[in-house]
Symmetry: C2
Subunit: 254 residues, 2 copies
């Protein structure tokens, strides 16, 4: 049974892309068949795999707006498969906004390939617009990367409210599968206080593993690979492997 997980938080720069890539690679390492989907016009996920975004013949834009079969937009990499994005995706929200069924385009596009994968991970832009709504509608659960900082915490209420609306109108099963603390620096009081607040509000939905701040995670995309390949024995690779195991275990509980 394929599990579709979306990485989302409208707060910018909280490691949505970094988590999609590294969790994807770690799930592949456990023997799963994994597809990651780049749904952000910035195309950071596509770039992080070393794919040239300037010369892509097709992109996820064509899948959503022109009904291209998604298998024609999937590139294979050593770490997982990826449905790529390019800048033309910036025009998708406007192009989709007048279409009937505009919120279900991604769900329809993924349906025929779910049989080929154990996990599908969707990276979203820092917004709660139509692209992210498409991701919520297509997903079983949402993992919310969050920085242990004040401004980052404030956005979670809006995310919760949006998911409530999605459940009522589009996808009754979508839920927050986990809140993941990223870029963690346990030395500051601010981080510790913010983490305390998160645990009070989200309880056991907060993932046990915390991804510590390390420059290795910023370096890996330059090489076009995940940190599991870039520095296989490092702390960051170990933490993302731990995250993959926790994600796998959480499905059994759900």
């Amino acid at each position: 049974e394929c599990r579709v997980i979306c990485l989302s938080n409208q707060k910018g720069g909280v490691a949505k892309t970094t988590t999609t890539m590294n969790l994807g690679a770690a799930l592949t390492e456990l023997g799963n068949r994994v597809l990651v989907v780049d749904l952000d016009p910035q195309s950071n996920l596509t770039m992080s795999f070393g794919i040239d975004v300037e010369n892509l013949p097709k992109s996820i834009f064509d899948v959503l707006v022109h009904r291209l079969a998604i298998e024609h937009n999937i590139h294979k990499t050593p770490e997982c498969d990826i449905a790529v994005a390019s800048i033309d995706l910036a025009g998708a929200e406007l192009a989709l906004s007048s279409m009937i069924g505009r919120e279900r385009m991604l769900e329809k596009a993924l349906a025929p390939v779910k049989k080929d994968y154990d996990y599908i991970l969707i990276d979203t832009p820092p917004s709660l617009g139509l692209l992210t709504v498409n991701a919520f509608t297509a997903s079983d659960e949402v993992i919310v990367p969050v920085q242990a900082e004040y401004l980052s915490l404030r956005g979670l209420v809006q995310l919760d409210n949006t998911l409530q609306v999605i459940r009522e109108h589009l996808n009754p099963k979508v839920r927050i599968g986990g809140v993941l603390i990223t870029m963690y620096d346990g030395r500051t009081i601010h981080s510790r206080e913010a983490t305390e607040l998160l645990l009070q509000n989200y309880g056991d939905r907060v993932m046990k593993v915390r991804i510590k701040k390390t420059i290795r995670l910023a370096e890996a995309p330059v090489q076009g690979s995940s940190v599991l390949t870039y520095e296989s024995n490092g702390t960051a690779a170990a933490q993302y492997r731990e995250l993959a195991q926790e994600v796998v275990a959480r499905v059994e509980q759900a």
Copy 2:
């Protein structure tokens, strides 16, 4: 003569909001009359000034979509005036998309109050959508906060291309007034290499001052004030004061 400056970068989490607030406070300290405008549905700028975003009677949404005079949406704070935002701004892009002159709504709204300010700073969401296009159309220049990291640098090409389109169709004078390196950690090779790349591509448009990474900047919004008030004698306050002087000096050169 009022100068309208927009803080923009579609890459998330690069300190757009933090820079709008602290540059605004520093320009006020120099004796200028300053208005900051929150154009992000996340309302982080409004929250950072300690304003309760859940119970706002009006917001910038009403100004853009219902032609409310902006002076009815301006709150005074000890550090500058602010045109506030709330979550209803998330509906603005769709509401505006079918209106004639949809890209000029902010420009029209600001026109009557430019006489009351020396600087107007606009904080934008992490996207190049209609809200940011409104900000580009209303602005004389754009300051681009950037992290010295690979994924952050990749977005600058898209930003340049968008500004080119804005110049051709909407606002011939808007230019990049400066590229500001934020959250800088000079200890890593990655940061130094990324900074080198920035200087090669943007030359003297890169601001001389670099804002160093410090937890003080994440702490200040919890208190509802800028770092100039929160820790007036600290490094971050000194760097934002330096930035304000550089911004003032740059106009003389333009």
